[in-house]
């Protein structure tokens, strides 16, 4: 279970500081996968980073009673000058893999299917290759909750199918909190939804309601 209480977040910059997230109160039960929807810049990734412990809230608390992954996605997570293999090795080591490191490397290499590029520096990767590696890497560890920040957005068709498949096989043991703009995948993998608007979050027990409200909102704005 992940509980978020009165969470506020702002970033300081030269032009003052606006609240990105305002008074978020959420309880995410075990085993429920949640899709986060909202416009660009509405704080989706920030919320995910805070849940993942990469960033800390300006005010409020977050309680994690589960093993939570790092936010899997395009931004961050890899050191560009290191090769794919070295990055995987590094992450396996900080997660205390010990002797399993070689096994984890082999599995990630198999899953990512990026061939000889696995031994090239990550900065030379295309975004698709990065996301393959990131995804394969996160699946090599057993988490209760996986955080995905558009992790599958840039993958090709085969990879998307593979990733979706891999997650479906984990339902029951693990859940997912994902930010995505592809609604098909959200509907496919998530049960509940969170809509972020103006820094505030609304919980929907059904992801379809969240997406529906989000559509109404954007349509109204356009009209």
């Amino acid at each position: 279970m992940i509980e978020i209480r009165n969470l506020y977040k702002r970033y300081h910059n030269h032009h003052g500081s606006n609240w990105v997230l305002r008074d978020i109160n959420l309880v995410i039960p075990d085993g429920v996968s949640v899709g986060i929807v909202g416009r660009n810049g509405s704080g989706k990734s920030t919320l995910l980073r805070i849940i993942g412990g990469m960033d800390s809230p300006s005010r409020g608390d977050i309680v994690r009673n589960a093993r939570v992954s790092w936010p899997i996605g395009l931004a961050g997570g890899f050191q560009g000058s290191m090769t794919g293999r070295q990055n995987v090795k590094f992450v396996a080591r900080i997660h205390g893999a010990g002797r399993d490191v070689t096994e984890i490397i082999r599995r990630v290499e198999d899953f990512a299917e990026i061939g000889p590029s696995f031994d090239e520096p990550v900065k030379t990767y295309s975004s698709g290759m990065r996301s393959r590696l990131a995804f394969g890497l996160s699946l090599a560890f057993e988490f209760d909750v996986y955080l995905s920040d558009e992790a599958t957005a840039v993958g090709d068709r085969a990879f998307k199918a593979k990733a979706t498949q891999a997650f479906k096989e984990r339902i029951g043991q693990a859940s997912l909190i994902m930010v995505s703009h592809s609604e098909g995948i959200l509907k496919d993998l998530c049960q509940a939804g969170v809509l972020l608007e103006g820094g505030r979050a609304t919980w929907y027990d059904d992801i379809n309601d969240a997406i529906g409200t989000y559509h109404d909102m954007t349509d109204k704005k356009r009209a």
Partner: protein, 270 residues
């Protein structure tokens, strides 16, 4: 297939174990990028101080003519001072870059900004110690008197300079990440620091009134003390005091740790 992909992760590890895993992982990463990334990395590690020493000897011969240093041969005197100074400077400089160079890895909440700084300083000290030992070995083979008269004293002075560099690195790694200009100023200041620390030119020749101010700088305390441990008959700068150096080192270490605690989140978020 998913289960096949799963590897065991310990359910909950103690904070100490997590930190230890992070240090181990970072150490392996830093050690590889430091020694293997560049084809010539090992060569430069030795050649850089050799070239620097050669240049300094040329400069000194040009400026000072034949004046001697009381109680020590010039070349070993210079090697000891320069390697001691480089131990301090490299620790400080590498630490400044450490936070920035590992930014991509802060995505994992186990990694704190202080970890790469500590690991880098440790690695740098080990490498510099190795280089120093190689210098002593090669120098002795070449007939340069580089065998310390008081090895234990040298070790203590070496550790003191390391601690000083470590403290400066910890403090400046935060300061320069928050205010990038500080990193630039430190880089500019490193050459004058080399001169006023008495690495190339002995401070003994300066008038007492100037010496007093130069002794505010903790580095010459360590360098002169190390030379004294190396060469029994060496006439060191009067007024050197290792307690003063350790006061600086411990204060900087404490300040650095406090700054890292205070600004950990901001360093991560940048």
């Amino acid at each position: 297939m998913a289960n096949e992909l799963t590897a065991k992760t310990r359910n909950s590890r103690s904070p100490l174990r997590v930190t230890w895993s992070v240090w181990h992982a970072l150490f392996m990463r830093e050690a590889i990028s430091r020694t293997m990334a560049d084809r010539m990395a090992w060569f430069w590690m030795l050649f850089e101080p050799i070239a620097l020493i050669a240049v300094m000897i040329a400069v000194r011969t040009f400026i000072m003519g034949g004046r001697q240093i009381a109680g020590a041969d010039f070349v070993p005197w210079m090697i000891v001072g320069l390697l001691g100074f480089m131990l301090f400077r490299e620790n400080m400089m590498r630490a400044i870059g450490a936070v920035d160079a590992n930014k991509g890895l802060f995505a994992y909440r186990q990694v704190k900004p202080i970890d790469p700084v500590l690991v880098r300083c440790f690695l740098e000290g080990m490498l510099k110690t190795l280089v120093f030992l190689v210098f002593i070995a090669i120098g002795s083979l070449l007939g340069i008197d580089l065998i310390p008269d008081h090895p234990l004293g040298v070790m203590f002075d070496w550790l003191s300079l390391w601690a000083l560099g470590w403290g400066a690195g910890l403090t400046l790694s935060v300061a320069s990440s928050l205010i990038p200009e500080i990193g630039r100023v430190v880089r500019i200041a490193s050459l004058p620091l080399l001169i006023i620390s008495g690495v190339i030119l002995p401070l003994n020749y300066l008038p007492h009134s100037i010496q007093q101010y130069l002794l505010w700088n903790p580095i010459p305390h360590g360098l002169e003390s190390m030379r004294l441990s190396f060469f029994d008959g060496y006439r060191a700068l009067p007024g050197i005091d290792m307690t003063y150096l350790w006061l600086w080192a411990l204060s900087l270490l404490a300040l650095g740790l406090i700054l890292h605690l205070r600004f950990a989140q901001r360093l991560k978020a940048q």
